[in-house]
């Protein structure tokens, strides 16, 4: 900082710039972990790197990834949402039951999304305006929304038959040899990533997560933005629910169970922080991919079901520990 030292320091900085820039990318650790894991697995199982298996693996994480994208936004704001799993089931169930009652399935899907939005609106209003803690509010909403799904179906999965092919194409079709679901995921990720980086509204989420009091004093309508956040999270969960219906032709009231924790885990593996202000859409995707690969590996390596949750838990801890250790220096 003194005049004399300035020059050498600066040169040092210039030299390391690109390397540092790469190293500074928050998602780097996880990309490396994924690559290493893939290499190991491809040696252990010849079918691992086959196109089929890759497509299969991605297909298996589409729903988690879509929900995680929504969850990222909630996490970035410093909140989170335990109700996404229930919203997912409810959206599917509402759509399914309306379609079974003879409504056009696309219209029914719109109602399903509207129901999700309503749930997000209620959550958002309570968190934003009444200032209930997000954990407890969304835990409560998890019950309420799950309840709606049960009431609508009276517990039974709805088998949706006779709906237009166009609707089923979403979840079951192929485009250019790749499942439509994967295309949808790609669009969601690219759009959401762009929005989260560049859109003024989305940046407000980062402001709030980074310093809520300051955001308020800077004229950001914190409670209003929070309402939007939970609406967005619920919207993506709703989309995932409707896609699930389209994929399986079945709307089960239990469809999204446990999705909330999977999604949060994926986001955190991908670098989001529970204290807010940090997290990217790309990270959420990578986190989901890592979880998907691990799940895939468990089957490929024929790990006993009784060992699976042990292994999954271990991988989760290992991934985050690695991340913490590699980012330790920056933190302190």
């Amino acid at each position: 900082m003194q005049p004399v030292d300035t020059a050498p320091v600066n040169i040092d900085k210039e030299r390391e710039t690109w390397l540092r820039k790469v190293a500074r990318i928050r998602e780097l650790t996880i990309v490396l972990v994924i690559v290493v894991l893939c290499i190991i697995l491809s040696f252990m199982s010849s079918s691992f790197l086959s196109v089929d298996n890759i497509v299969t693996t991605i297909l298996s994480i589409v729903m988690t990834a879509i929900v995680s994208v929504g969850m990222t936004v909630a996490l970035v704001s410093g909140g989170f949402d335990l109700s996404v799993g229930s919203v997912m089931s409810m959206a599917g169930v509402v759509t399914g039951s309306l379609a079974l009652d003879g409504m056009n399935v696309w219209l029914a899907a719109i109602f399903g999304l509207l129901a999700s939005l309503c749930s997000g609106l209620v959550t958002g209003l309570f968190i934003g305006k009444v200032k209930i803690n997000p954990f407890i509010m969304t835990l409560g909403m998890q019950g309420v929304v799950q309840g709606v799904a049960y009431v609508v179906t009276q517990g039974a999965p709805l088998s949706v038959t006779g709906v237009p092919k166009s609707f089923l194409y979403l979840g079951q079709g192929n485009l250019l040899g790749i499942p439509v679901l994967i295309w949808i995921l790609a669009v969601v990720v690219v759009v959401a990533d762009f929005i989260m980086r560049r859109a003024a509204l989305a940046r407000k989420v980062y402001y709030i997560g980074s310093n809520e009091a300051a955001a308020y004093l800077s004229g950001i309508r914190v409670s209003k933005v929070k309402v939007w956040i939970y609406i967005f999270t619920a919207l993506l969960a709703g989309i995932a629910g409707i896609l699930t219906l389209s994929r399986f032709s079945v709307a089960a009231p239990t469809a999204g169970q446990g999705m909330e924790l999977q999604a949060i885990a994926a986001c955190i593996i991908g670098g989001a922080s529970l204290t807010g202000g940090e997290g990217t859409v790309l990270g959420a995707l990578l986190g989901s991919v890592l979880v998907g690969i691990v799940n895939d590996a468990l089957v490929l390596l024929n790990v006993s079901v009784y060992w699976q949750s042990l292994v999954t838990g271990f991988v989760l801890i290992a991934a985050v520990t690695l991340d913490v250790l590699t980012h330790r220096k920056k933190a302190s």
Partner: protein
């Protein structure tokens, strides 16, 4: 004067918090082209008043006029729309986000809802240049030093095109140079006919800068006087209700016995080869420009931050200090500069805050004895003259000066040998400051060695027996006697005497 417009006026403002009347019948007027200083003790209600005129708080009674029109402000957005910009006392930045987004929060240039990054960068560079900063608009704020963050905060207000600019203690973490650059900007605003409200506890700044001074005491308006027709003593009398004869206590007479000897302390780039001695009964001032590494040196010495090398001896014996507990065992205590974030438990009582450093002594068979804990807290309240209802009052509800006293209290009640205070009077009013100075001198006279880090030159000169000047992480010089004057200290602090000072 009669022809100038009134930009902002408040009449009969009243604000009650549960348990306190923060403001009562406060009226205030800001004219076009005026720098109006707002002064008062800690807790007098200055920040509360500013929050009310910027819409962050709603008054319980009173009227606000902007450009002569009565207005109601429901949120900070309203104030901004009406042309009032504010730099808050507490840093209100977003640590995870880039400088330019911090500066342009709430007024991001957009196209179809998306940010225009290029344009944002240009706007920010334009303003940052004035402060000759060494960071770029795309840097993330949490990587900046405190003083750099304060500049970002100031620029944040400057980019808004407002008629009224409000600064609540903007210089508490600024270097002298940066502060004078800020004054340049303020005078420029004034010449453009804008109004500025300026809050500070630093008298020299107020008298350099302001046109009029308004004084608050205990939430009431004491009066408004033109700066040219008053002096520091009178303002102090208005603030405190009595006059304070000596701001700085008499110097001590340390006996030269070495209490603490530090040799070749190294810890990263901000603590390089630091060696010095501290004598019994001495107050050693530590000065350096903001960011020079004073905090880092002391943290490394007190076992809080890891160090790469260095020997520490107390009373002539080498001691191992690698953790806070080691330091505490040897009676060496470090009082952080960040009272709120690292020093106090704001949601807990005074009793709990004092007890935290005495848990072993206060507990019998693992249980805390309530009686002794209460007595201890009450002793601190009495000895340090903490203004509090009782020892169960929450520390967060005390004024800044009283909070600082509680923090000092929790350590000195442990019988320190060496007390290191990092910016002990930052943001503290004259009255409390004088009391803290007296207290430190009294402690020193009892034989304790005291190290005081401060960014305020007058304080360093007035309080210290010797001064250690830090420049860029290394000791630039240790000054005594005649050398204890503003000019010499500043010369060392800016690195001009580097070679000559350290042998």
């Amino acid at each position: 004067m009669c022809l100038t417009r009134t930009l902002l006026e408040a009449k009969g403002i009243r604000k009650v918090f549960p348990g306190t009347v923060a403001l009562d019948h406060v009226s205030f007027e800001l004219l076009e082209g005026e720098i109006h200083a707002l002064m008062g003790e800690n807790g007098a209600g200055k920040s509360t008043f500013l929050k009310i005129v910027t819409g962050a708080l709603q008054p319980d009674a009173g009227e606000i006029y902007i450009a002569g029109r009565s207005v109601k402000m429901h949120s900070p957005v309203d104030a901004r729309r009406m042309g009032v910009a504010i730099v808050h006392q507490e840093l209100s930045l977003f640590p995870d986000i880039s400088v330019m987004e911090n500066i342009l929060v709430g007024q991001t240039p957009t196209r179809a809802g998306f940010m225009r990054r290029r344009q944002m960068q240009e706007i920010c560079e334009h303003y940052l240049e004035r402060f000759q900063v060494r960071f770029s608009p795309t840097d993330v704020v949490k990587d900046l030093s405190v003083s750099q963050q304060q500049i970002v905060e100031i620029v944040k207000a400057l980019v808004t095109d407002a008629d009224v600019y409000i600064f609540d203690e903007p210089t508490s973490a600024l270097s002298v140079d940066d502060a004078s650059r800020l004054f340049g900007v303020l005078r420029e605003l004034k010449s453009k006919g804008k109004g500025v409200i300026y809050v500070s506890h630093k008298f020299d700044e107020i008298f350099q800068l302001s046109d009029r001074i308004t004084v608050l005491r205990d939430g009431s308006l004491i009066g408004t006087v033109p700066t040219s027709e008053t002096n520091a003593d009178e303002v102090i009398r208005m603030m405190v209700g009595r006059s304070i004869e000596r701001i700085y206590p008499e110097k001590g007479r340390p006996n030269g016995q070495v209490l603490l000897k530090v040799q070749n302390l190294n810890a990263g780039s901000k603590c390089r080869n630091v060696s010095f001695e501290l004598h019994k009964g001495e107050i050693l001032g530590v000065f350096g420009l903001v960011g020079s590494g004073r905090t880092e040196i002391m943290r490394a010495m007190a076992g809080i931050a890891p160090r790469t090398s260095g020997e520490i001896a107390m009373d002539g014996h080498a001691v191992r200090i690698h953790t806070v507990q080691d330091a505490m065992r040897h009676g060496l205590y470090y009082l952080t500069e960040d009272r709120k974030e690292q020093g106090l438990f704001l949601k807990m009582s005074i009793r709990d805050n004092v007890a935290v450093t005495h848990l072993e002594r206060l507990s019998k068979r693992g249980l805390i004895q309530r009686g002794p804990a209460r007595d201890l807290a009450n002793n601190v309240i009495r000895d340090l003259r903490v203004k509090a209802k009782d020892d169960e009052q929450l520390v967060g509800s005390l004024s800044g000066g009283n909070q600082q006293k509680v923090m000092i209290g929790k350590w000195i009640s442990r019988q320190p040998k060496v007390l290191i205070l990092d910016e002990p009077t930052r943001g503290i009013d004259v009255g409390a400051k004088a009391e803290i100075h007296q207290l430190l001198r009294r402690l020193a006279n009892e034989g304790i060695g005291i190290i005081v880090i401060s960014s305020e030159l007058p304080e360093i000169v007035g309080l210290s027996d010797r001064v250690m000047v830090i420049h860029n992480g290394a000791v630039a010089g240790i000054l005594t006697g005649q050398q204890l004057n503003d000019e010499t200290i500043m010369e060392f602090a800016s690195g001009l005497h580097k070679e000559t000072a350290v042998g």
